[in-house]
Amino acid sequence: MKVSRNWLQNYVSKEIPKGEAFVDLLSMNIFEVEGCEKVGEDNEVYDVKVLADRNAYCLSHRGIAREVAVLISADYKVPEFMNTPVAVSTNLKAPEIKIQSTVCRKYLARKVSGLEVAVSPEWLKDGLEALGQRSINSIVDMTNYVMMDSGQPLHAFDADLVKGNIAVRMAKEGEVVTTLDKKEIVLDAKTLVVADDEGVLAIAGVKGGNRAGVTMSTKNIILESANFAPGEVRKTSVKVNIRNESSKRFENDVPLEFADVGINDLSLLIAEMYPKAEFSPIFSYGKGKDDAKVVETTTDFIRECIGVEIPDEEIISILKKCDMQVEGNLKITAPTYRRDINIPQDLAEEVGRVYGYEKITDAQPVRVESRLKNDKEFTIAEYIRDLLVGIGFNEIIGYALRADGDFVLEHPLSNDKNTLRKTLADSTREYIESNSRYLDLMGIKQAKVFEISRIFPKEGERTVLSLGVINQKGPEKPHVVIANTLKYLTDNGIIVDGSVASKINEITATESKVVFDRKMELCVSGDLDLGKMSIDGDHMLVLNKETKKEIVKFRKISAYPFATRDVAIFAEKDKEKEVYEVIVKTAVESIGEENFVRATLFDVFTKEEKTSYAFRLVFQSQSETLKDEVIDSVMKKINDVVMGKGWVVR
């Protein structure tokens, strides 16, 4: 919620810190402050992230001022004039409201007459706009202003447009209301409404209707300051899809006493702006205040929770600053507006944050004797991971949301991600196919991929392993690699029920699948159930622990195509390393390290005294498609340097 510094200052006896000091004070001791904006000559507006459990009292300047006062050891003070109610006119009768549902917990209303609704004065307009609120007219703006001040949502009806009597009742099934912003909403019988003889005037706590809305021609109004059951407001606002400042406060359980503050402050403000206005007595339904909550604990318990030796006096002093009554050691009566104080731990939080969590120093880690074992599935997965990585497999973590699964999402992000995947086989295949385009870039001849993830077939969730291999059509057969890999796992102590043997047979019988214009061959194992695996006790489980792993800097994957060139060089025997270094050095010098990816030796043969080394060079830029001429000139340079060494380019 956005709050203005000068506004807060009205309620705090000492000067409030400014700028960064304010941001830090609140962020470290109660709420994160996301923004601090200078407004006008001498004011600042802060965007305070009120925590959900304190929304009930802190979605307001008064609430945040209370907390600021606690943190700077100042007093929270309401200016005297605000405690004196407006004079009631004998000419006006209080409105009669029929309350017909317990969803309405409290309802205060009064008639105000003799108004001339107009455009708001600058101070009001600017004040609201600084908080991100749109100015509408003087009366509506004042209801919003008082809400921002007190936390109590308020509403005004044009009294002359109300037909007959007002009732707070459940809507009739199918009853329609047109909102202030001219939206037609069809209501059901579970929706609480404020209605007159003719129909719905407002969706209680959520949105006013258009029919009796306050306009520039309004002369007389009925003010509403009410309290509605939070869960019901929330259900309704979700159902009619209207979330606003009012519904947000009500669903967070506005304290009952705020209704009195709200109607009083709003009346005072109206009286100030319209000295001739007349006020009726207040119609009042419901309890004045919530019951005070008593929490019993001890200062020892509070110290135990925080772990710091805070003296009794300091604990008690902090709790008193927070407006709590303290008796003995330690019976606390929390102020009635504090919905978040329910258990002793809540008091530990008050003491801890005000005292300052930064004062928890010299903390040591806990240690516990481990009688328990790691989860079996986790252990098996870790072991498989090491075995597979050791024989050249690469792990991926695919996307769990796909089309065609058995479990369907209620509100998917998109239609191709509307279910949970029921097998890994399809995604493994898609991932190896897309990776096959980058084999040269990665300097590998074969993409060997595995994933260990959950699948969600209709029988239920389980963890499976899936393997996939793809390479150019040739003597290397992916299905043979996969069949051998499964044998390798069992040889290394991964015990599986009979299904692996049949999987091996199945893979061997089906052979590899030819794809991409018969250029590539692939094979996918399909799902292998980790739940059916165990580890042979004879195989010592030694996981590959790399505690001192080098932290490599991630290099962005280029969106531009890569280019390859092959070069074969005749040199002396055992010159492989030297030839490689000459090629790489020349390439890097002429095109730049950022555009040269690698040189991979792909063929070697020796004829008489000379050996031929064939390298595949890969080029790629992060920012453009490299031109053929540029790469050709690199190859020309390599050619020249090689010749200069007395070697021969074939």
Binding site: Y357, S370, L441, E546
Partner: protein
């Protein structure tokens, strides 16, 4: 075939026939190893979860605004069956682990979680969390701070520092946000706190006898910071150009 690893040139993907595990699982192994030294064991729980374990048992009742803190993927179920969802956090493992074990214990639960939110460079609908829970007699915020400091010093280096800020999560009280100082900047990395007595009760543990702390960290972000990965979507792209860099 052969690649000279001692090359004078830093080339970004190695071409040897060696395989690579996913950086996420490499890092999960590191964190579980660090916590294993303190006696914490690894636990697991379902990703397709019931409303009870994901919300109610964690003191997040229905029709409560706290449910808004997480955008949930609800899964269609036949009329009359218990509502199911993709877990929005690994905290569901807390309840299942407590119900199956007797304290004192320390537990770590790494795993995939889901949020129904549009994806971009910093948001993914699927990501990883690591949940931690420790239950013993008289557990304090100081114990939590000491344990997390120990972890971050081992993980990010000896000069890593942490700080607590007040926060709110329905399943802990007091609740804190944990920031870690990394390369001169405070970064928000996890939520934590002392376990709420209602949550202990839901796990069949007597809150008058036992107390505990719990934490949950978005692990993707922690890894991205460590390696300078600028887009979370790489992690789940299935792209070996990503896998083979780590």
């Amino acid at each position: 075939m052969v690649f000279f690893s001692n090359s004078a040139y830093t080339l970004y993907m190695k071409s040897e026939d060696k395989g690579y595990s996913h950086v996420m699982n490499q890092e999960i192994r590191i964190i579980t190893d660090i916590f294993a030294e303190l006696g914490f064991v690894v636990a697991n729980g379902p990703e397709l979860e019931t409303e009870f374990f994901n919300f109610d048992a964690l003191n997040i009742p229905s029709d409560h605004p706290a449910r808004d803190m997480q955008d949930t993927f609800w899964v269609k179920v036949p009329e009359g069956e218990e509502k199911k969802l993709l877990r929005t956090h690994t905290s569901n493992v807390q309840i299942r682990f407590m119900q199956a074990n007797t304290p004192p214990f320390g537990m770590l639960a790494p795993g995939k979680v889901y949020r129904n939110e549009a994806t971009d460079a910093t948001h993914e609908a699927q990501f990883h969390q690591v949940e931690g829970m420790y239950i013993n007699k008289k557990v304090s915020l100081k114990d939590l701070k000491g344990t997390l400091e120990y972890f971050f010093k081992k993980y990010y280096g000896e000069d890593a520092k942490i700080r607590f800020r007040p926060s709110f999560f329905p399943f802990v009280e007091p609740g804190v946000e944990v920031d870690v100082l990394f390369k001169g900047k405070w970064l928000e990395v996890m939520g934590a706190g002392l376990m709420h007595p209602k949550v202990l009760k839901a796990g069949n543990i007597d809150p008058t006898e036992w107390s505990g702390f719990a934490f949950g960290m978005g692990f993707d972000r922690i890894i991205m910071i460590k390696y300078g990965i600028d887009d979370v979507r790489y992690l789940y792209s299935g792209d070996l150009r990503f896998t083979r860099q780590f």
